[in-house]
Amino acid sequence: MADLQVAELSKDLQAAIAGLEKNEGLQSAGVVIRVGDGVAWVQGMAAARYSEVLQIDTKNGVVEAFALNLMEDEIGAVILGDDSKVAAGDTVRLKGEILTVPVGEELLGRVVNPLGQPLDGGPAINTKATNPVEREAVGVMGRKHVHEPMMTGIMAIDAMFPIGRGQRELIIGDRQTGKTAVAIDTMINQARNKSDVINIYVAVGQKLSKVAALVERLKQEGVMEQTIVVATGPSDPASMLYLAPYAGTAMGEYFRDKGGHALMVYDDLTKHAVAYRQMSLLLRRPPGREAFPGDVFYLHSRLLERSAKLSDDLGAGSLTALPIIETQAGDISAYIPTNVISITDGQIFMETDLFNQGIRPAISAGLSVSRVGGDAQTKAVKSVSGHLKLGLSQFRELASFAQFGSDLDEATKKQIDRGQRLTELLKQPQYQPMSIWEQCASIFAVDAGAFDGVPVNKIKDAQMALLTKLWTDHKKDMQELNKGGDKVEKDSAVAKLIEKTAKAAAKGFEG
């Protein structure tokens, strides 16, 4: 090494400092005073803002965290990633921005974590845009009422509890009652109908084997190309589980704000609340009811309020939400379920008893509701489903009398028979969403009495025969019906066609 003159070194150093004066100023910095359980406590950085990203310089590189507790003496920062890399004494710098995630079409077909990093082994994702994870919901004047249908393909839902674009419809029930299945069928139906809806499935603390199976099924059904999966497993830090729904919503807002339509599935928000409880307790926030922090309602309300139907001035895009909540022993009056029920625009209640009886999807017609209702229904489905809810509710009242078959009057017997047939009709296999014409034809046929002579256990076979015949012999009419714009009125040509075909199909199954 050549001899270095100290004077030269000094000159170089002064030049370097002078150069730095032009572009860089002093950075706000602090020091980690203690770390553990995913939380780093930082001293200094009085200028840190709430939810601002902090960069911790560890021996193994930079680890990011975000500031959640801004206290007089220290900042509680939740670490994004492995907290074992962080040690007391590490320097912390402000990144100068709040947490953002990459958003855009580049994410379609990919499985990512809440920071937008790929988990599917594919190439790195480079998006042109990012969106903040936390963002204020659209104001009143920026919204329009929900008026476009979001067809799930599940007859029981589309007929009785229709969902519209921009609506928040909760799916609630005990474990293993088919909640995720309803959400997946809705996603599959968007691809089947070639609707322009982008699906975003947020797995919060779900078993990774379940997520992998779901991704595989979506690929088989050809849905993955219009889907983004944001996945967090049970072994991920609570901070990632906490961020996942917000990150997913940020991705959905990208499409909404461009005038497009997106569907969010949050599976499930119960685990999200539990993760937030864990974080809050570790941040030493005071526990409230069931040890949840006092702002657990705000946790979900600010998330779900971002799902909306935008006004025409803002592009008329929409973000529809299907949050999922898991109950214990069917208790929908528990803390978190009641919170989310009061936030959403309706709920689909899945009952264990119905599931065990073989009624799948196990949707409780009595406890489920859609507060948007007919405004979000196609004219065709609306015209045939008027008697459906009434028929089922009357059947529910009389169901316990079904065992007294021969001792009942004719009117009661007829109601019970009709109810049993409607219940059987609404059963639907998984991954087989029904189109508008299929739903209209099936419901109309039963309502018109065409299947009254068919034994209950043959109703599905009769339905299949009807739909096959209609599609084979009257395809054009069914394609027209599938547009959903025309009502199926009793004396209309299509109604007479369906009734005639149904009676013919029923003959082969009547006992």
Binding site: V6, L9, L13, A16, L26, G44, D73
Partner: protein
Amino acid sequence: MATKLSRRKLAGNAAARFSSGENKKAILQELAAYLIDTNRKKEAELIVRDIEAMLADAGTAIGTVISARPLSSDAVSTVESFVKAQNAAVKTVVLRERIDKTLIGGVRLELPGHQLDASVKAKLEQLTV
């Protein structure tokens, strides 16, 4: 139960008394006694940092300049001028010097609540990132 005084309040009190010219030894004795009495000796270093931060707001910036090789007096003066330029409230700059050969070149300046890393090591790490 006695209210626990926050570190910032303790530091603020000490900094104000330093600035007003009170006897430094006496202030530190009182502070040490309080920390022992309240079993908060572990917070001593943190309180020193808080005191330095408050003294900086009051006009006296105490910092550490770290370099790979000893700095000349001119270089130190340049750093002091830089610190004054960053904050108009600073009238006096007191710098501690430290050598860290791992920086390779350049300097790192640590001030209360702020940092400037102009070392070659930091630039290489940025390239890696």
